[in-house]
Amino acid sequence: MRIAVCIKQVPDTEARLRVAKDGRWIEEDDLRFVINESDEYALEEALRITEAHGGDVVAVCLGPDRAKEALRKALALGCAEAVHLVDDAYQGGDAAATATALAAAVRTLEADLVLSGSQSDDVGYGSTASLLAGHLGWPHAWLVMGVEIEDGASSTKVTREMESGTNEIFRMQLPAVIEVQAGINHPRYASLKGIMKAKRKPLATPSPADLGLESAAIGAAGSRIEIVDVSFPSSGDEAEIIEGDAEAAARSLVEKLQKEARVL
């Protein structure tokens, strides 16, 4: 099987965030960027499938120059090739514009299966791979917690997460787009050998023209949804923040829980 895995590079979820000066997004200059969490699980799942059934994995990423690091890591983990949509015209798009570009790239790969994470940890539209499935005309499933390839790779048994601790199990025909939920497996670490080998693996950077894309259809130009501004959430009824060093704050909290909240 040949599996394309669409990944995104996002700010480290543990990063301390600041709103950028123009208010439209966060300050990115001093942030550490990593592979989006659920995409990392998708990479691992793809590698496990090809290890069990043969074939290879191609990592595809739309993102600026820094995203090359995410693709290098994917190659170090065991992907055979990488495709980086790095041209400026691709950037700044909503989920629909991003899916248009990814679909054009995936079509050139002759994949039997596309995997991706269910949702990005930054913008979090959770839509891109479903829209990609629309472009390809393939069935898709979101929030997938189990993938079992069946019958000479003509179908797959899928376990999908539902509300309140229930999973739904069903069969889908291949080729398909599967959007993986974090927790489906335990992602591996890159080995030193893998990191060394990654340097010699192919990393393509096709331009929009190479993929037959008009620049009006992709990136910010191809988007209907635009972020106007971002801010920290507020309930208007914020927590009472207890000050002091650890010991003083702990004692003060216990007193409040006894006397005000009366829960101790």
Binding site: P11, T13, L17, I26, A95, A96, D121, D122, V123, G124, Y125, G126, S127, T128, S130, G134, P139, H140, W142, M145, T159, R160, E161, M162, E163, S164, G165, T166, N167, E168, I169, F170, R171, M172, Q173, A182, G183, R224, I225, I227, V228, V230, S231, F232, P233, S235, D237, E238, A239, E240, I241, E247, A249, A250, L253, V254, K256, L257, A261, L264
Partner: protein, 327 residues
């Protein structure tokens, strides 16, 4: 009123009646309709939806479209998209509102592709941005919120986050039901069954005190400080999703939309930033205390008390203070 706008609200059913979040979607759709002076019309899908359609007809809506087809009995995205995409293309409503359920999320983006719609997921409120309608939604795991605009021509889809609108605000009234014209509909999944995740060994729903631990704990070797706090309090231990995904606690300890819902007297959130998926599982708690190094963490917006700092120092200090207080 030549160009009166129309809003559709696509409802999810559950055991023959309305899903809780469908009422919230009706409230959201009615609110949006009032803001825009638009018609609000509901859509109900299923194999036999007579009772649910009658229930929906009891709300203040301008119409209830009923899509009945054998292939809509068990949910599959193929059947749902097959039923809805041609109907939306032909009726061309201005907005289509969905409850942001695990089912909607599975098919609404695909439906947006097939219907040529823009899609804004996880909407928590409608806002007026200098005369322009904006939609507020969480980004960066709920650490920030963004206001987004929808430009261009054509339908816009909105899925409404759980709890953002109150189902009690859905206005009663009466609406006429009419059948939705359906084309060819085929399922794209063969449903094999369901399974319960992680068994039901641990029931946190009746716990009086819950100590919940999040990604901020850093590594499993740090868990003993949380276990000691829980033991001192006589609390049950729960966790947010990343802790479970990393295998640091079993899955039946997960609190949130895909895990358990708790409502204790006291909820201590240790190193939990407060993504919406976690908040929906614990917001029924009476008193919430959060310990987090990030003063901007959204968990503080649902907490009564907070301590900003290093949980590795604060948790042992809190355990000692509680032990002292108990004498």
């Amino acid at each position: 009123m030549a160009d009166a706008k129309t809003i559709w609200i696509v409802l999810q059913l559950r055991e023959g009646g309305l899903h809780r979040m469908s009422r919230e979607a009706i409230a959201a759709g009615q609110a949006l309709a009032a803001r825009l002076g638009a018609r609000a019309e509901a859509v109900v899908l299923g194999a036999e939806v007579g009772d649910a359609a009658a229930e929906v007809a009891g709300f203040d809506l301008d119409a209830v479209h009923v899509a009945e087809h054998a292939a809509l009995g068990a949910y599959t995205p193929g059947a749902y998209v097959g039923a809805l995409a041609p109907a939306i293309r032909s009726a061309a409503p201005d907005f289509v509102v969905f409850p942001h359920t695990y089912q909607s999320v599975d098919y609404v983006a695909r439906l947006a592709y097939e219907a040529g719609a823009a899609y804004v997921p996880e909407v928590v409120s409608f806002e007026d941005g200098e005369g322009e309608l904006l939609f507020r939604r969480p980004v960066l795991g709920g650490k920030l919120q963004a206001r987004v605009r929808v430009g261009g021509e054509g339908v816009a889809f909105l899925s409404v986050q759980s709890g953002a609108f109150s189902g009690d605000d859905a206005r009663a009234g009466s609406a006429e039901t009419r059948p939705l014209e359906l084309g060819e509909i085929t399922a794209d999944r063969e449903i094999l069954g369901t399974e319960t995740v992680g068994g039901d060994q641990v029931d946190l729903s009746k716990a009086d005190v819950v100590v919940a631990v999040g990604r901020g704990i850093g590594k499993p070797e740090n868990m003993p400080i949380v276990e000691e706090l829980a033991a001192t309090l006589g609390a049950d231990i729960g966790a947010s999703r990343p802790v479970i995904d990393n295998g640091w606690l079993p899955r039946d300890r997960q609190i949130g939309s895909s895990g358990q819902t708790v409502a204790p007297k006291l909820y201590l959130a240790i190193g939990i930033s407060g993504a919406i998926q976690h908040l929906v599982g614990m917001k029924g708690s009476s008193t919430v205390v959060s310990i987090n190094k990030d003063a901007n963490a959204p968990i503080f917006t649902v907490s009564d008390y907070g301590i900003v700092g290093d949980l590795h120092e604060i948790v042992p200090a809190l355990t000692a203070a509680i032990a002292d207080a108990k004498g």
